[in-house]
């Protein structure tokens, strides 16, 4: 358990200001105060605010000033959807402007290079855990070869690939296997019908060993790219939480992480239908270069046109970010590199980046590339990255 983890309720600060703290609470407060200068600053600001009131005047001139700055440096009146490939240097110019505008001039750090204080953080590797129908667990890595038989289907694992081949006629009940990819992992799987699946970090796929019946149905949590083998008689369905996708034969990417509020499905080739498990009549049909977004909280499905490359680039060994904010970028990177990322300043989450990076670089290299275009500092301690 890291040492800097005292959590206080605002009530303690409130009581401190009103001089009604108990001894125990005083101790807790001191502990919290000592853990970071930002905590001390917060207390000072709170006290100042309660005694003197707000520093903010709602004078129109001040609002006008802020608007002018926003207009000139932050808001573009026309967005260019087609030209997505902006070179990193051009993006750096735009980002730099926003950075100097948003950050108060007194606090700019001038060392953008990652400070490496621990082991080198390596990129993900091809690894997965396979759970057979009988519950037996097998570790799959690039260095092990495995041949198994589950109810008449041969399962071969060699290198980073898991392949299923139907051998005998189908058994009476459907048998399921589950493939789990940990953080820092990726894997490739070929199902019994020839469908190819690329699986990203923190992903679980549950699928029947053989596809009997009149449909092919699998369950996904996480992210995967599917190249579905064509079979008009047996539509292929992917269940992710409340979303179901139905395809005939096509190529698409699904991003459905449990902690995210949205499920994204991006279609490359073919045609798919996206709908809710319990309400199949509400559906979206996607054509190539279209992406559906399911809002889990609101239970809506919307769709937009996209350039699919940025959403499937991971399968090709690259990270592609198109005007993506650093908060989201770090979410993606932290899964692949299996690290924890902490932002010291809220404003940093919103800095946007555009770029195309190799997935198999060390994390330090990736951070260096990102850090180069900006005034920020990365501090690496074992598996925790702090951005200031």
């Amino acid at each position: 358990m890291p040492k800097d983890q005292t959590i206080i309720d605002f009530e303690i600060i409130w009581k401190k200001i009103n001089h009604t703290l108990t001894e125990k609470e005083e101790l807790l407060l001191s502990q919290w105060l000592n853990e970071s200068p930002s905590h001390q600053r917060y207390l000072e600001k709170a006290m100042h605010y309660y005694q003197k009131g707000s520093d903010f005047t709602d004078h129109k001139t001040e609002t006008d000033l802020v608007w002018n700055r926003l207009k000139n440096k932050g808001l573009k009146s026309r967005r260019n959807k087609s030209a997505w490939i902006i070179s990193l240097s051009a993006a750096a110019a735009a980002i730099f402007l926003i950075v100097t505008f948003l950050f108060p001039p007194t606090k700019i750090e001038v060392t953008p290079i990652a400070i490496n204080r621990g082991e080198l953080i390596k990129p993900g590797t091809r690894q997965a855990t396979l759970i057979l129908n009988d519950g037996s667990v097998h570790d799959l890595t690039a260095t092990k070869n495995l041949v198994l038989n589950d109810g008449g289907t041969e399962i071969k694992s060699e290198g980073a690939k898991l392949e299923y081949t139907e051998k005998e006629s189908a058994p009476s009940e459907t048998m399921y296997n589950t493939l789990r990819i940990p953080r820092g992992g990726e894997f490739f799987l070929q199902l019994a019908d020839g469908t190819k699946v690329w699986l990203n970090s923190e992903t679980v796929l549950r699928y029947p060993v053989q596809f009997d019946g009149n449909e092919r149905r699998v369950e996904l949590t996480g992210e995967a790219f599917f190249e579905v083998a064509r079979n008009e008689k047996k539509p292929f369905l992917v269940e992710s939480g409340e979303q179901v996708i139905k395809v005939l034969g096509t190529e698409f990417n699904i991003s459905s992480y449990k902690e995210e509020q949205f499920i994204y499905t991006t279609l490359l080739k073919g045609s798919v239908e996206v709908f809710f498990k319990n309400k199949p009549e509400i559906k979206q049909t996607l054509k190539p270069n279209e992406q559906s977004k399911i809002n889990n909280a609101e239970r809506t499905i919307s769709k937009t046109e996209v350039d699919p490359y940025q959403f499937i680039a991971w399968k090709e060994g690259r990270f592609v970010f198109k005007d993506e904010n650093l908060g989201e970028i770090m979410k993606t990177l932290s899964k692949w590199y299996n690290v924890e990322v902490v932002f010291d300043r809220e404003a940093l989450r919103n800095i946007r980046f555009t770029g195309d990076l190799q997935r198999y670089s060390d994390f330090g290299d990736v951070l260096e590339k990102i850090g180069k275009t900006n005034e920020m500092k990365f501090i690496i301690e074992n598996k925790k990255i702090t951005i200031r």
Binding site: Q5, T6, I7, I8, D9, F10, E11, I13, W14, W32, E35, S36, S38, H39, R41, Y42, K45, A46, H48, Y49, Y50, K52, G53, S54, D55, F56, D58, K60, T63, D64, V66, W67, L70, K71, G74, L75, K76, S77, R78, R79, I98, L102, F103, P104, K293, N295, E298, T300, S302, T304, D323, N325, V342, F343, D344, E346, A347, N350
Partner: protein
């Protein structure tokens, strides 16, 4: 969603800068005050809200609004403030900060909870007469400090002091009653 909000939202999605400017002028001061109730740091609040305006402008076509543009902004600011506080290891289980934000905003309609409004009004009624008058002029009618000073024939400093004391009393009144349960 009301028709006015649908129209407003459409204009923003169509990148009507003039409309966005009008929206900005209308919301910005209130949002900063609201955020100040959580973070107490004017600069930090301004950063958060400016980022939000940029984010909204650039992602308008991907955002779906529940109630109104106004409530979206207030909700977003609140979430961002809470995230910031989480990073500081501060929680607000008793909704003291939420209350602070509310008192700063003055127009309670978007907070969908009539109980709060009743309690706040009841608390205001318990203030000394002139204090209550000044508080309402500022927070319920949105008058500027200079205007309030003029209307009441007192100095701006007096107005500021009265407001500060009013907020202090209201905070005490509202947190001491068990009605904290109604705040979410």
């Amino acid at each position: 969603m009301q028709i006015e909000d649908k129209l407003l939202f459409n204009e923003i999605k169509n990148r009507n800068l003039k409309v966005y400017e009008a929206l900005f002028n209308d919301y910005y001061p209130h949002l900063v005050r609201f955020a100040e109730g959580y973070l107490f740091d004017k600069q930090e609040c301004e950063d958060i809200i400016q980022n939000l305006f940029i984010h909204f402008w650039e992602n308008a076509d991907k955002i779906s609004l529940d109630h109104s543009v106004r409530s979206y902004f207030f909700q977003s600011v609140k979430n961002r403030c809470l995230n910031h506080l989480r990073d500081l290891n501060i929680r607000d289980r008793h909704n003291l900060l939420y209350l602070e934000g509310l008192l700063n905003v003055g127009e309670y309609s978007e907070f969908q909870n009539p109980e709060i409004i009743i309690h706040i009004n009841a608390a205001i009624a318990q203030l000394p007469e002139q204090m209550a008058k000044i508080f309402k002029l500022k927070y319920l009618e949105g008058k500027k400090i200079s205007e309030i000073a003029q209307i009441n024939q007192i100095t701006e400093n007096t107005v500021k002091t009265q407001l500060l004391r009013a907020k202090g009393k209201l905070r005490k009144l509202l947190t001491e009653t068990t009605s904290l349960n109604f705040f979410f």
